[in-house]
Amino acid sequence: RRGLFGVAMAALGSVLLVALGLPLLLFAARQSPSLIAEKATDPGVHRVLYLGVYAPLLAAVASLAFGVPLAYHLSRGFAGQPLVESLVDLPLVVPHSVAGIIILFGFGQGGAFPGLSVLGTLPGMVLALTFVSAPYAVNAAREAFESVEDRLEYAARVHGASPWQAFRRVTGPLAMRGMVTGGVLAWARAVSEFGAVAVVAYSVEFFYPPAGERVVAQHAPVFVYNTYLQGGLDESGAVAALLLGVSAAIFLLVR
């Protein structure tokens, strides 16, 4: 029933869908299965994929652990809230390579914690990933808390529950979906991060359980870039396809 207007809107919208969908399709169509199979069995690639999922998971857990309490406060309002909101959202607009530079100035040599080594280390990498992904966890959790009506919390309190009990039995369970979504979003964002990691921790040494020892590898998006620079488009395409599979799997978790 939308008539001409609807058709025009649909046509314009479709252009964007093509711009987003067509490259994905062509990318998938133009991969060489044998090259992907080769990369998929390469132990070096395994290490990269392991690190590319593991380090972002640490960042997501940190984002949730500290982001959920912050989100709860933001959803309920407090003095100075606009300032805190700005601080939380700022990493969303900081250019990714600049984020890396900021982390180095803040926590690197001469920074806040002299005992902490961030340049080229796993803690540095996780810090950089947390910096860029925490806003996603905070904002999703905050939206979830805001969608729980004040009245339900009032109802819990007036019938005897303390703030903690009201949170644990009412607000928390009702916002659980949103918190999980926030965690997965933060995870996905960290998996996709390239710039900040390329600056702070181009390659890192970490304990790799399958090998039972410490190994050196790069964050997956860095590895893809590196492969592109060294081996050309086709080889990096194969690695990119594997990484895209991992990202898509995490993405399906969100939905």
Partner: protein, 324 residues
């Protein structure tokens, strides 16, 4: 065991002027005090403030104990919300039992549900309930904690008419033995449930009294209009002496519509029938009278046709006076 409320609170919403609410009243043990007022009069904010949901000045005292500094869970009240506010992720039984985890109370949740006629809902989830069912469950949840004072915020206003009448009847029984504050804009509900009525307007208390006081002797034209009384400027009356004894400063006379005599032999006013509306028991007849800004309402089982000229008599013993 009296609850004494004497509070002031200021509320600011985004982009709106600050709204100030102040009230001072008492609720005796077992009594139901109804707070009656139009939409936006601040009656819900007042009730929520009594419950401890908002910061306020002044005191809330129960049985000599000052509760004002306590959080909601420290006041031993219970609350029935207009839109039920049941926990959607808990079954009906879990909702009703909720408060008993935290407060000592012997009330049997199943018996409460049975008394309220919803014993068969125990394992259902709130989103699957009708409005009437949900509000009965919410009432059971509130009663389950055996509150010292039960607070009710327009519990009937989201319900359709037959459901509302049926729950109102049950509320009459439930509230008979419970100290309670009940907020509503519906004068029929107020009259059905109240031992005392606090009339609010624009954040302020404008009259406090028994239903008889408020309905028969409204303190101002505003209260009279809100309780459904007729308001007549004294200047519109030809023979004033017979109706006004005493109050020389009075500007208005008020009289209940059911007290007005239609077709009186010795009329106080004469007017034209404007409209006849059939209601449940009788017909509501509105009569336009020269010099009276609002039409006069009377009830009649055998109403005259619109356009008819009718005479209206005010029995002196049912007439009250007030100042604007």
């Amino acid at each position: 065991m009296t609850l004494a409320v004497d509070i002031e609170a200021t509320f600011t919403a985004d982009g709106a002027d600050a709204f100030h609410v102040a009230a001072d009243f008492e609720v005796d043990p077992g009594e139901t005090v109804v707070i009656l007022g139009p939409s936006g009069s601040g009656k819900t904010l007042l009730l929520e403030t009594v419950a401890g949901f908002h910061d306020h000045e002044g005191t809330v005292e129960h049985d000599g104990l000052v509760l004002s500094d306590r959080p909601p869970e420290g006041r031993d009240f219970a609350f029935v919300f207009q839109d039920y506010a049941l926990f959607p992720h808990m079954t009906v039984t879990e909702n009703v039992e909720f408060g008993q985890r935290y407060r000592e109370a012997d009330a049997n949740p199943e018996a409460l549900l049975a008394d309220l006629g919803v014993a068969d809902l125990t394992d259902r989830y709130p989103p699957t309930l009708s409005g009437g069912e949900a509000q009965r469950v919410a009432l059971a949840r509130a009663l389950a904690v055996e509150p010292t004072v039960l607070l009710l915020d327009e519990p009937l206003s989201s319900l359709d008419v037959p459901t509302r009448q049926s729950l109102r009847a049950d509320l009459q029984d439930v509230l008979a033995g419970v100290t309670s504050i009940y907020v509503t804009h519906d004068r029929t509900t107020a009259r059905a449930l109240a031992d005392r009525i606090v009339v609010m307007n624009d954040g302020q208390v404008v009259q406090t009294g028994t239903p008889e006081d408020v309905f028969e002797r409204p303190a101002s034209p505003l209260v009279a209009r809100f309780t459904g009384s007729n308001v007549v400027p004294i200047s519109a009356l030809s023979d004033r002496a017979s109706l006004l004894d005493g109050d020389r400063d009075a500007t208005h006379l008020t009289v209940r519509p059911e007290a007005v005599e239609l077709g009186a032999h010795d009329p106080d006013l004469t007017g034209t029938v404007e409209r006849v509306t059939r209601e449940d028991a009788t017909s509501r007849v509105t009569v336009a009278v020269e010099g009276v800004p609002e039409p006069i309402t009377v009830f009649s089982v055998d109403p005259p046709a619109p356009g008819t000229t009718v005479s209206l008599g005010f029995p002196p013993e049912r007439v009250a006076t007030c100042r604007a």
